[in-house]
């Protein structure tokens, strides 16, 4: 579905991505793990056209994404739930969701998806009138995911959805990701919580200082000694 | 570039000898209309009389942007960088006064066209002007108000930022009190400042104190707005003003509202006509296809008076030109006969004009004292 080849990104002098290759087949959960500053977010931002790459290609359903604006990429069905939630604090929960469907014209479809989001996150339904900025961190995270779903994505990318969440909510988020996947959405997931994400992922990539150092089936990575040592903090 | 001025100077002395005369006028900013009208007159005169002492007269024009600091800069530049021999300007007393210091210090003869405030030439041996000064103008209007309009009570509205307006108001007030013989004949003095657009508070006061006339000298813009708003508020008292109201813009902005206002001015073809008046009027209308005005005429005269002085001095030495200027007597200009007194002021008569059917009409003529 999406294929990244030899992607290079520079931030001024920093070489943040050094020629990575990633393949995302349809209907799978792919996860990207790695230490801080490894370039995970940069990868997602490059796909969305938020960050310009200096070299390489990003193919989506046989077409290069590099020439498109973010807006067009979203319209093609790729959605990013960004790092740090980035909900619109001055808009109500409902308005945030409506904006999630900004590019869509099918009123009936939008209404249906709104219902679906409210089913997934009953808390959002309860608080549909509330200004999003006044909600707690976990609620905001739900809203961010819900908002992402509103554009009816084919490929949903999530950047550290569990960051700063209480343990209970972390569990909930992962079960929701599985649920969304079950409904037929391809998922690219970034997580610090490597264990949980590898557990649900079909395939995983390990990123270190801008390069992919390891890849494999989720289950295999989970038992890989290096991964264990570096990311799961178990070998102690 | 820094050196071009030197080059220019060399060039001017080489081939055909030139005399450079500096002109500083407000060509942009609040006083631009007056400055441009004056400049038209100066340039017309230069066009008609381009030579003196066998040399070409070259005008160096600098815009003082209706700003005092820029006026000082402009004159400094004319003297030090452009090496002019004499200076003409500026419209607007405050601009002239600001530049006066440098003119005095650098001993540069200067001829003002229409700055009427006494401070322009006071204590300044190098500044002259071809117009009358405000004490005369103020008195003329006060006397007219009392004698011809039968006014006993007057209200003054002045622009607190303009020496022109402040001075004129003061002389009007003195003359009015004297003329009516009543210390309390001035009901109030109200201030506004250049650039103000809403005068409702002043007009509220005027509406309250029913005077016989309002004397409101100032920039033609603010004056026009003031009168317009007065009429809108139903104030029907006659408005009197000074020579700035001559500008056509005053009638344009004021429209209907300024019908009937009365002001003093420098000349009218119906009052004093000389050979030069005829020449000026014809040539001006030919060149610009519109009615001539007093500012143009005064610019015209300032140039001619200066040229005459250079001719009499027989040299382009600035100090000598000054000497010759001081001796100007009965010079025949477009605005009448010009004699410069010991202050450097022109002893001239004034005319009183009225706005009628969007045109200026001549009312009467007041001889110089």
């Amino acid at each position: 579905m999406l294929e990244i080849k030899n992607l290079n990104v520079h931030y001024g002098g920093i070489h943040a991505l050094r020629g990575i290759h990633i393949d995302i087949p349809e209907n799978k959960i792919i996860t990207l793990i790695g230490a801080n500053g490894a370039g995970k977010s940069t990868t997602l931002r490059s796909i969305m056209g938020l960050t310009k790459s200096s070299e390489g290609s990003i193919q989506y359903q046989g077409e290069s994404l590099l020439k498109y604006k973010t807006k067009d990429i979203v319209e093609k069905g790729i959605v990013l739930v960004p790092e740090g939630r980035r909900i619109f604090p001055n808009l109500t929960v409902e308005e945030n969701l409506i904006l999630g469907a900004y590019s869509r014209k099918d009123k009936a479809g939008i209404a249906k998806d709104m219902e679906r989001v409210y089913e997934l996150f009953p808390r959002l339904k309860e608080r549909s009138w509330q200004k999003a900025g006044t909600m707690s961190g976990g609620e905001q995270q739900m809203l961010a995911v819900g908002r992402g779903l509103m554009s009816k994505p084919k490929l949903l990318m999530m950047d550290e959805p569990s960051l700063g969440l209480a343990p209970l909510l972390v569990k909930e988020i992962f079960s929701i990701i599985k649920e969304i996947h079950r409904q037929g959405v391809t998922i690219l997931l970034i997580e610090q919580n490597a264990k949980a994400s590898l557990e649900i992922a079909d395939y995983g990539y390990v990123l270190e200082t801008g390069s992919i150092v390891l890849e494999g089936k989720g289950k295999d990575l989970l038992t890989n000694e290096e991964v264990k040592k570096a990311y799961l903090g178990e070998a102690k | 570039e820094m050196k071009t001025s030197k080059e220019r100077e060399e060039e001017s002395t080489k081939g055909n000898p030139r005399i450079r005369i500096g002109v500083f006028q407000p060509l942009t900013g609040a006083a631009a209309a007056g400055g441009r009208m004056t400049l038209e007159g100066i340039q017309l005169a230069n066009h008609l009389f381009p030579e003196v002492l066998g040399k070409r007269v070259e005008l160096v024009v600098i815009d003082n942007q209706s700003d005092r600091t820029e006026a000082v800069n402009a004159v400094r530049r004319l003297i030090q960088e452009e090496k002019v021999k004499a200076i003409i300007g500026s419209y607007g007393s405050s601009l002239s006064i600001a530049a006066g210091e440098i003119i005095k210090k650098e001993k540069m003869p200067a001829v003002g066209c229409s700055p009427t405030n006494p401070m322009v030439t006071l204590n300044n041996d190098y500044y002259f002007r071809v117009c009358f000064a405000d004490p005369f103008q103020g008195t003329v209007m006060a006397n007219y108000a009392v004698r011809d309009l039968g006014a006993q009570k007057a209200i003054i509205v002045q622009d607190e930022v303009q020496e022109y307006s402040l001075g004129l108001s003061r002389y009007f007030m003195e003359a009015f009190q004297e003329s009516t013989g009543n210390e309390d004949s001035i009901l109030g003095v109200y201030n506004y400042h250049s650039g103000q657009q809403d005068f409702s508070n002043i007009l509220g006061e005027i509406k309250k104190n029913s005077g016989d006339v309002v004397f409101a000298p100032g920039n033609y813009i603010e004056s026009a707005l003031l009168i317009k708003q007065a009429r809108e508020m139903g104030i029907q008292i006659p408005f009197l003003g000074g020579d700035t109201w001559e500008a056509p813009d005053f009638r344009e902005i004021g429209g209907e509202a300024v019908e009937g206002v009365i002001f003093s001015s420098h000349f009218s073809e119906e009052a004093q006509v000389t050979r030069r008046t005829q020449l000026f009027l014809e040539e001006y209308e030919k060149k610009h296809q519109r009615e001539a005005n007093a500012f143009g005429a005064l610019g015209f005269d300032a140039y001619l008076v200066l040229l005459d002085a250079i001719k009499r001095a027989g040299t382009d030495d600035s100090e000598k030109i000054r000497g010759a200027l001081a001796e100007t007597e009965n010079f025949e200009g477009a605005t009448g006969k010009i004699t410069l007194d010991k202050n450097g002021d022109a002893q001239k008569s004034a005319v009183i004009m009225k706005v009628e059917n969007k045109k200026l009409s001549y009312v009467t003529f007041v001889e110089a004292e």
Partner: protein, 351 residues
């Protein structure tokens, strides 16, 4: 290394003095005025940079401070006779009528009075942040101007002061500019300067590090006001006439422009850009006047100078977003290194 730098410092100071001396000998008074203006704008630019660039306080009230300085020095140096001439509408307040100070004390007094005003304004206003502070300080600047227009017996109102003794010369302007540069360098390098920068970077974190926001902000603001007052005083006594209208907010913008063009938070940048902007403004006057190319005469268009100037300004802002210097400074290290590298070829560069 330390010795080399000391020698270089001394050499450049001597060179600067020599240069000023040459200017004084060869330039006519018109050009000297530009040199003087450059010096004054260096002082003003640095003072605004201290507030806006180093401390991150968005202040737009500089014109007001300059007015306070210019009037203080003006009233103190104006001779009693000139005072009488100036104040013809309303007499001057008695306590000022007879004073006539020499320039140095008047300058210092101008700085102190302005600093006091700066303190009085800063104490309440610095509670505000960002745009709100900007608009409030802009307001204070305008209020100062309006007050000066209305306190006729103190300031001669809108008519302004004329005939100020023109004490200002390049030794004053560049001397004080030089002291200001040193002042800034040492201030910024020191602990207090670092605290200012910390406030600029993140107020909340700075406060959490034990830096009293109020004290340091007011300190920077007051010091900036002091320098602005001195700059204003020099300007007044250079021009010889001042009036409240000179000190409109466009004047603040001009100085802000110098700061931004030079690089916010760079002393070197401000100095360079003060000189460049001042000279450019004069140079562009050519555009307003008729240009005589001998065979053809191009009539000048009044106002063209400002059009070109603002266009140039826009181009610089759009293409040099961080100004000439960013927040970098000229240092001998940098200078020596660059020279050194040039000589020793490519190998060094790679390293």
């Amino acid at each position: 290394m330390k010795n080399t730098k000391r020698i270089l410092n001394i050499i450049s100071i001597i060179a600067l003095i020599g240069l000023l001396f040459i200017f004084e000998q060869t330039f006519d008074s018109y050009k000297m005025r530009i040199v003087n203006l450059c010096g004054i704008y260096v002082i003003l630019g640095l003072s605004l940079n201290l507030i806006n660039g180093f401390t991150g306080l968005f202040s737009l009230g500089h014109a007001g401070f300059m007015a306070v300085g210019a009037y203080t020095a003006g009233l103190l140096t104006l001779s009693p006779a000139m005072k009488q001439m100036n104040f013809f509408m309303k007499p001057i307040v008695p306590f000022l009528a007879e004073v006539e100070w020499s320039f140095l004390p008047a300058l210092i007094m101008a700085g102190l009075v302005t600093a006091l005003i700066g303190f009085l304004i800063g104490a309440p206003a610095l509670k505000l942040r960002d745009d709100y502070l900007a608009i409030a300080t802009l307001g204070f600047g305008e209020i100062i101007r309006v007050v000066f227009t209305n306190t006729q017996s103190l300031t001669n109102g809108a008519l302004g002061l004329k005939g100020l003794p023109t004490h200002t010369n390049i030794w004053w302007t560049w001397g004080i500019a030089f002291i200001t540069i040193l002042f800034m360098v040492f201030l910024i390098k020191g602990s207090y300067g670092k605290a200012f920068k910390a406030i600029r970077e993140d107020e909340i974190a700075a406060e959490a590090m034990g830096i009293s926001l109020f004290k340091h902000k007011v300190m920077a603001f007051t010091m900036g006001a002091f320098l602005a007052g001195v700059g204003g005083a020099l300007l007044g006594n250079l021009l010889g006439t001042i009036d409240p209208n000179m000190f409109r907010f466009t004047l603040t913008f001009n100085i802000l422009l110098i700061v931004v063009l030079g690089g916010i938070g760079s002393i070197t940048g401000t100095v360079i850009s003060a000189v460049v902007v001042t000279v450019a403004m004069e140079y562009l006057r050519v555009l307003d006047e008729a240009i005589n190319l001998g065979f053809i005469r191009i009539e000048g268009i009044p106002g063209m100078r400002m059009v070109v100037f603002s266009l140039l300004l826009m181009i610089v802002i759009l293409f040099y977003q961080n100004g000439l210097m960013g927040s970098n400074e000229f240092t001998w290290d940098w200078f020596l290194e660059k020279k050194f590298l040039k000589k020793s070829g490519k190998k060094e560069v790679k390293q």
